[in-house]
């Protein structure tokens, strides 16, 4: 591995957005370890890789936490983990009456559990160096859950809470470990919509966000290439006005 290259992990790298993110990060000079359940899908990503040897396929189910530990041990031989994009997710369309407790919790184990486990393992490297970058791919599915999406909506809402909880624990102590949420928007993938955004386009934003590590990005939420600011209370807005302080303006990713 090129010692100057940052080591990034992308979960769900066998297909869709994960594959596009892995390829984009390689194109931008990273070494990428791609996690995915299906070896055939991963090797297809490998074949598309523009730089020989820069993509390392690792077959692993993110809901199998023992397997994840072994996968991280393999990845660490390439170097310390600098970037983690928690992208792996499933979206079973299922009415709640068709869910069993087991089927519901299996979705949680992948979408939320995989994110938690990968973050925990990647942070072992990051706290040693005092720096790192985690991007959690989430959605607004929790705001107004649609029908036949209960497990997905709950897991994605929980993911956004998880990001905030991580920031609460780590930001003060490790300001250079930067964690944020990214909502790529509806994509033209198996999980998305036929007229959605092309994953390669979204991946440019995602890769740009993952390679931006300014501490001010900690705890921020991004939708496509735009920062989504927290709603300010009326009191705060009045106060800012009195102080002649400009209202904060959301940032935009330049690569878009």
């Amino acid at each position: 591995m090129n010692p100057a290259a940052k080591l990034a992990i992308v979960t769900g790298a066998g297909k869709g957005l994960g594959r596009a993110l892995a390829l984009e990060l390689v194109a931008r000079g990273c070494t990428v370890a791609g996690l995915g359940r299906d070896e055939t899908d991963l090797s297809a990503t490998s074949k598309l890789c523009p730089v020989a040897g820069a993509f390392h396929p690792i077959a692993c189910d993110v809901s199998d936490y023992e397997a994840l530990r072994a996968a991280f041990a393999t990845i660490r031989r390439l170097g310390p983990v600098a970037i983690l994009i928690n992208n792996a997710a499933v979206y079973p369309r299922r009415d709640f009456l068709d869910e069993t407790p087991e089927s519901f919790m299996q979705t949680m184990a992948i979408n939320l559990g995989g994110m938690v486990a990968c973050s925990r393992l990647a942070l072992e490297d990051m706290v040693k160096r005092g720096s790192g970058r985690i991007v959690n791919v989430t959605s607004f599915a929790d705001l107004a859950p649609i029908a036949a999406s209960s497990a997905y909506s709950v897991s994605k809402g929980a993911a956004r809470i998880f990001t905030r909880a991580l920031v609460a624990d780590l930001e003060g102590r490790f300001p250079e470990i930067v964690i944020s949420d990214w909502i790529p928007g509806a994509l033209r993938t198996a999980m998305g919509l036929p007229d959605g955004i092309h994953p390669a386009d979204a991946a440019r934003w995602g890769a740009q966000l993952a390679l931006s590590s300014d501490p001010s990005l900690n705890g921020t939420l991004w939708e496509r290439n735009n920062e989504v600011l927290e709603q300010q209370s009326l009191k705060r807005r009045v106060f800012n006005r009195l102080m002649m302080r400009a209202a904060p303006t959301p940032r935009v990713l330049s690569a878009a």
Binding site: R129, G130, G172, R173, P175, E176, M243
Partner: protein, 537 residues
């Protein structure tokens, strides 16, 4: 190594606490060949952490401990008024010192010595200033102290190296002070000032720059291969057979562990070392270990922080926060003990001015107006803009030892701190004089005191296991060995008979080296020797 393994062996020395005192003495003993076990209430943590000491915004005890900060509130009865607050003390490897501003200043001879011109309130420390000098020198070398010699000092400081180049603004402000007849100098700092050095006032720093109980104490001790840290272990009691400590009992999570060593050093800090002794009771020590005369925990002192904003004169203004200026012209003046004046590394911002305004509101009829305290934010903002470049300084006012001022275990909470403290009339008077002197000494520069009420510096507690030759009026002897106990020593700020007019760190470090040398010189304890010593009465 697992904590259980640490408990199964016998150590040459157990050091309780890993701050400036514990870290320094542990390093000295390990480097001289002894095996040393540090027992630390907090965690080792990660070397890359950069957090500030937790304020009131973090109240969960576990979250506070993770941030290296004292987990619980302390209960204080100040002038009989009870309040609970989070004391600004650390609880992790390095103790409070990982957060400190690394100002390592020497005390003055009169802080230790009695003389006709400057009578000492206790008749003088049992160890004179000249006797302490070699250890001050060693501590300055060990902590790589840098700065300018104090122009008023009459003793040499051979191990003080030149400080970094001062910023132009500081230099101009100092020049102006000199014209007013003061003798400012660059403060003595234990920071290497590496490339990219941020000001780590109140913050942990991952860079190899600040020298503190962790970087200049525990870490070099561990590097000898003869030391270990038992982290997350809270000492609950010392057990002994009268004149000797045999076991150190700790709680780790829900588990009780016991450690053994030939010597035990208390360095848990002046608010905690006495509480450990008071909690250690047996037939021989019914009132607590070392407490036959009821002296443990008494004579507690803090410094008083007289904070003020100073506006540089026309042409002297600058944007950086002054952080390296101090002067000792008022240290002892008009026959009174005051202390030194130091820049705090802050510009007078909104927060300081807000505090000032709130103080004013509290003392006026406006205090009955709901929201008045919130409304103060707006003028504070305006003032911060207008007044801009004021620098915040602090006059450290020496506190005097009174037996009634004390620390003890909080009977309402196991492991809790209870402080009883009253301001003496003498202190009020000295304070008034000190403030007046500060104002007049700075000439025509505008100053604004940022505090009204006497403000105790809870980060500088000392005196609670006072050193003395008379066991009836002190807890430790001139070597800082607990009266009547052969193998129990004190190496934190508890030993100080008086609080001095400077930051305590250098004196704690120097004394820890001295106590370390006394332990090295003590006859090797035999585990089987007959126990013939009795507690002096």
């Amino acid at each position: 190594m697992m904590t259980g393994d640490l408990a199964s062996r016998r150590w040459d020395v157990i050091v309780i606490g890993t701050g400036i005192g514990g870290g320094t003495i542990g390093r000295r003993l390990a480097e001289r060949g002894l095996s040393v076990l540090f027992i630390e209430k907090g965690r080792s943590g990660y070397r890359t952490e950069q957090n500030h000491m937790a304020g009131d915004d973090v109240h969960d005890p576990e979250a506070r401990l993770i941030r290296g900060s004292w987990p619980d509130t302390a209960r204080a009865r100040i002038e009989g008024q009870e309040r609970r607050f989070h004391p600004a003390i650390g609880a992790a490897v390095g103790g409070s010192s990982v957060f400190y501003a690394a100002t390592l200043e020497r005390p003055e001879a009169h802080d230790l010595d009695d003389s006709a011109e400057r009578p000492h309130p206790t008749g003088g420390w049992p160890v004179g200033f000249d006797t302490m000098l070699p250890w001050f020198d060693q501590a300055q070398a060990l902590f790589e102290v840098r700065g300018q010699p104090d122009p008023l000092a009459d003793h040499p400081t051979p191990n003080l190296s030149a400080g970094p180049a001062m910023c132009e603004g500081d230099a101009r402000l100092m020049e102006g002070m000199r014209r007013s007849g003061l003798h400012p100098y660059q403060l003595h700092s234990a920071m290497r000032g590496v490339e990219g050095c941020g000001s780590c006032l109140g913050r942990k720093c991952p860079r190899p720059c600040k020298l503190d109980g962790r970087s200049a104490g525990v870490e070099p001790a561990l590097a000898t291969g003869r030391a270990a840290v038992a982290e997350r272990c809270e000492v609950t009691e010392l057990r002994g057979d009268g004149p000797r400590i045999t076991n150190v009992v700790v709680r780790r999570g829900g588990e009780t562990l016991e450690f053994t060593a030939d010597h035990v050093v208390l360095a848990a800090g002046a608010l905690s070392s006495p509480r450990i002794l008071l909690a250690s009771r047996c037939a021989e020590w019914p009132e607590g270990c070392g407490n036959a005369h009821g002296q443990v925990g008494r004579y507690l002192m803090f410094h008083l922080n007289e904070m003020f904003a100073l506006w540089p004169r026309r042409g002297e203004g600058y944007a950086e926060a002054a952080k390296s200026i101090g002067f000792r012209d008022l240290y002892h003046a008009e026959g009174h003990r005051f202390g030194m004046v130091q820049a705090m590394g802050l510009n007078a911002g909104e927060g300081e001015i807000l505090n000032y305004l709130r103080g004013k509101i509290e003392r006026s009829p406006l205090r009955r107006l709901p929201g008045a305290s919130q409304m103060a934010r707006i003028p504070a903002k305006v003032a911060a803009r207008v007044l801009g470049q004021a620098k915040v300084f602090v006059g450290l006012l020496e506190d005097m030892p009174y037996a009634e001022n004390r620390v003890m275990p909080d009977p309402e909470r196991p492991g809790g701190i209870l402080i009883d403290y009253r301001f003496s009339p003498e202190l009020h008077q000295r304070r008034k004089r000190f403030r007046k002197l500060i104002r007049t000494s700075l000439g025509l520069r505008r100053t604004l005191f940022l505090t009204y009420q006497p403000e105790l510096n809870f980060g500088h507690p000392c005196g609670s296991l006072r050193m003395g030759t008379d066991p009836a009026r002190s807890v430790v002897d001139a070597d800082c060995r607990v009266h009547g106990i052969r193998n129990l020593w004190v190496a934190d700020a508890s030993f100080m008979p008086t609080s001095m007019g400077v930051n305590p760190s250098l004196t704690i470090a120097a004394n820890a080296l001295r106590v370390g040398d006394a332990i090295l010189a003590a006859p090797k304890a035999s585990r089987h020797e007959p126990l013939a010593l009795s507690i002096p009465s």
